[in-house]
């Protein structure tokens, strides 16, 4: 003899399945939101890093001695070299945790007269 299928059981099963699908969708959405937040922070960090590198490049061009500068949560490192009448520098901005945020290479003539 067949047992009749309980309507409540069917409904409950469907509800559990719906809840499971909803949990999966929630997890995906939460992951996207967290990624968006992270990208937003990275964008702000990159903007600041670019301007710090630009500042270091300008100071290098005016002949000011710069090596490693720590500012806020960033560290600006300048590797300067001179050869064949040309001064070159590689400027790297890193976060305090060691991530390289931005790298800028610049060069100028050794005899740069700044009025």
């Amino acid at each position: 003899m067949k047992n009749p299928v309980n309507r409540s059981t069917l409904f409950l099963t469907e509800l559990i399945l719906d809840l499971f699908i909803f949990i999966v969708c929630t997890a995906v959405c939460a992951g996207l939101l967290i990624t968006a937040y992270g990208i937003s922070r990275e964008s702000t960090e990159l903007t600041r890093a670019v301007y710090m590198a630009q500042t270091a490049a300008e100071e290098f061009r005016t002949g000011q001695p710069i090596g490693v500068v720590a500012e806020d949560d960033f560290v600006v490192t300048v590797d300067a070299a001179a050869a064949n009448g040309l001064r070159t520098a590689e400027i790297t901005v890193t976060a305090k945790d060691g991530r390289v945020l931005y790298t800028l290479t610049t060069a100028c003539a050794e005899e740069v007269a700044v009025p």
Binding site: D18, F22, C29, S40, T62, Q64, V114
Partner: protein
Amino acid sequence: MLALCAVFFLLAMGLTLLGSSVYRSTVSTSDENYTHRTALSYLVNQIRRGDVAGGVAVGSFEGADAIVLTDGSYVTYLYCWNGELRELYMEAGTGLIAEDGVPVLPLTSLTVTLEGGSIALTVTGEDGASHSVAIAPHCGVKEVGSL
């Protein structure tokens, strides 16, 4: 069954709250970043455009730090006034006031200082955060005092 409905409701509310919070934070950060980046880029590029002998000066315009770019008989003042970055382009000696400048974008304050041949620009947005950049004009920069 009630427990399942309650779990569903809690998850939905949690996701909505998380989403709205993250969205608000992301938009706010994006706006702040835009203000700082645009203001500094605008000022730096204006200085580079006016980088000729005697063309770039630093001074004070009605009490506000200003960058003065001279092009022949015309002068451009870049300054912050009444919560806005403004540009005033006029013939030298016209006598226009700070209020006559064209608003460029909202900005809380602009600090301009001269440091050994470099112009240090510091902008502060409505969020209170400050960003700085230095630029050394090829043709030099002079200090003109109060205008």
